[in-house]
Amino acid sequence: MDKLIELRDVRKVYSTGRLEVQALRGLDLEVGRNEYVAIVGPSGSGKSTLMNILGCLDTPSSGSYTLSGEAVAGLDRNRLAEIRNRHIGFVFQSFNLLPYATALENVELPLLFAGVSAKERRERAAAMLDRVELGDRMEHKPTELSGGQMQRVAIARALVNRPTILLADEPTGNLDSASGKAIVSLFEELHAAGQTIVLITHDSGIAKLASRVVRVQDGQIVEDVRAAA
């Protein structure tokens, strides 16, 4: 199994005033191609901190992070932007869509930064919206969409540039259970199609569907269970 993600002794310290919070305390993690990893753990245990580091949105205080063979620590802002653009698709709990842009424009965004031509952007974004069953909502603005639809737009955006890994931080946290289920089955389909996924969830039902469950507590991995294939 090739290693897509390799974390070694990763620590993250937040210092707020005189107080120092150790959000991650020496964490090792490897994720291979086409794994579907669910990260679980109590609130404040460091899951989001870990996810932001995986997504190159944040940098560890110490330790090493290798993504697709490239050491991420110490890269400049431009290179990090390229990695986020090419390798990572990030899905947030609160969707984070641009409010004034249509669904189609939101999905086109990563392609814009990848330098893809306007015509191709349009085609690929439209195809991706079809894929998440929103082909009939392309010209709608986020405010004209339901929560579940917004999250599907966000997933289309995360996938449109064919990322190496899809990261999702509590993607169903803001959704009702029906919409949540639709999202979860979409993730299962994607995984079945070969997509590597790392997802944070509080829902043990969702975690059970993953091929591997990693439990984080106090900034450390306390349990790492692979489902029997």
């Binding site: 802002r77 990030f90 984070n96 869509l97 990848a114």
Partner: protein, 410 residues
């Protein structure tokens, strides 16, 4: 997500910050109007004053023979120096880098036409006098020429005001006027000109006749004054020195005796004006720029607010792979657009004002301010610089945002 959405984003910002954006654009508009009007008025005033200057002649020197103030080769001081046409001929021969014209005049000869009687200043001179003194014949007429001189013709060229007094609105060229009961043919009338300095009344009220005719008529030998003009204005001091040398030799006075021949070098005034208006223009531009800078600070300020409000959006863009330079460009472009809108409004106001201004009838005093290329270039350059600076700092702040912080994930 092309340019369309850039404008949509901007419209979004404008909508969210209606009043603030309006005030900001107004600030830039006001600044633009100040700069462009101040520069335009400065230029108009300068053009006006220079035109008045030109009315007398460009870089000419007027020379009056007077009395010696220094003893010379046994001759005492206080001796009267009198200059004749021969002296002027000698100057022409010996100083080829300048042109010369003598002038005789009379103030007690009466012009009569029908029932009108006027006693104007009569100036007798040579054809090049007109060129040196910027006396331009109006269409249909001409100035005194060499043939008039050779044949001692009785012809007269009238100042425009004098013509008006004698002929009213009637055609004057080809008509006859009586000068001390001698008939003179009017050959030309002066084109109206601006003239604010003179040494014997304005040209508009004078009559000009050939000097040869004058000499014959009034048996006068001596010149009242003569004027000269170096072909290259910068040679004026050199020519002046040579004029003293030639005349001192011919009339036996000390070439250093400046009082023997009084001189008025109008190019001195030109030098003064060059410095004065350079400073004046810079001063106006600086004052105008300050207004524009204040406007620029307003734009910068609103852009900080916009960046603040769009922090999350910046975070989203960074998260999906926008490079810092892209973010920076976006906000810089937005600032420049706001500045440009203000600038265009300001220019329109200025153009409108300048179009209406001549109707107020003040041009005689302050000149006609114009939206000259200099005005437009100065204002545009200032706007560009101010827009760039105003946008740079907020745009830079936006581009340096940390994705986690911007997304409020941390």
């Amino acid at each position: 997500m092309g340019s369309l959405s850039f404008f949509r984003q901007m419209l979004q910002d404008v909508r969210q910050q209606k009043l603030r954006t309006a005030l900001t654009v107004l600030g830039i508009t006001w600044g633009t109007v100040s700069v462009s009007l101040l520069v335009a008025f400065g230029e108009g005033l300068e053009a006006r004053i220079r035109a008045n200057q030109r009315g007398l002649g460009e870089n000419i020197v007027i020379a009056w023979p007077s009395r010696t103030s220094l003893p010379w080769e046994g001759l005492g001081k206080g001796r009267r120096i009198r200059i004749t046409e021969e002296d002027v001929e000698a100057l022409r021969r010996e100083i080829p880098q300048a042109r010369f014209s003598g002038e005789m005049s009379r103030e007690n000869s009466t012009f009569r036409r029908e029932r009108v009687r006027i006693t104007p200043e009569v100036s007798a001179n040579s054809p090049i006098f007109a060129a040196m003194r910027n006396i331009i014949p109006a269409a249909g007429g001409r100035y005194v020429n060499d043939l008039d001189l050779d044949r001692r013709r009785r012809v007269v060229f009238l100042g425009d005001k004098l013509k008006q007094d004698l002929f009213g609105d009637q055609e004057a060229v080809g008509q006859t006027v009586m000068l001390d009961n001698v008939p003179f043919l009017v050959v030309g009338v002066m084109e109206k000109k601006a003239q604010d300095s003179s040494y014997s009344g304005r040209d508009e009220g004078k009559a000009f006749i050939p000097d040869a005719t004058f000499r014959g008529l009034f048996s006068e030998r001596y010149l009242e004054n003569f004027i000269f003009q170096a072909h290259d204005a910068s040679a004026t001091p050199d020519v002046t020195r040579k004029v003293y040398e030639v005349l001192a030799r011919r009339h036996k006075f000390d070439p250093a005796d400046k009082e023997a021949i009084g001189m008025w070098d109008t190019s001195e005034a030109e030098k003064f004006f060059a410095i004065f208006f350079g400073t004046f223009r810079a001063f106006l531009a600086i004052i105008g720029s300050f207004t524009l800078v204040v406007g620029g600070i307003g734009v910068s300020n609103i852009m900080y607010v916009v960046v603040e409000e769009r922090t999350r959006e910046i975070g989203v863009k960074l998260a999906v792979g926008a490079k810092p330079a892209w973010i920076q460009r976006q906000f810089l472009a937005e600032t420049l657009t706001l500045t440009a809108v203000g600038g265009v409004c300001g220019m329109l106001v200025t153009f409108g004002f300048l179009a209406v201004f001549p109707l107020l009838g003040l041009d005689e005093y302050v000149g006609t301010p114009q939206a000259s290329p200099l005005v437009i270039a100065t204002t545009t350059a200032l706007l560009g610089v101010i827009g760039m600076i105003a946008g740079w700092f907020p745009a830079r702040r936006a581009s340096l945002l940390d994705p986690v912080v911007a997304l409020k994930l941390a």
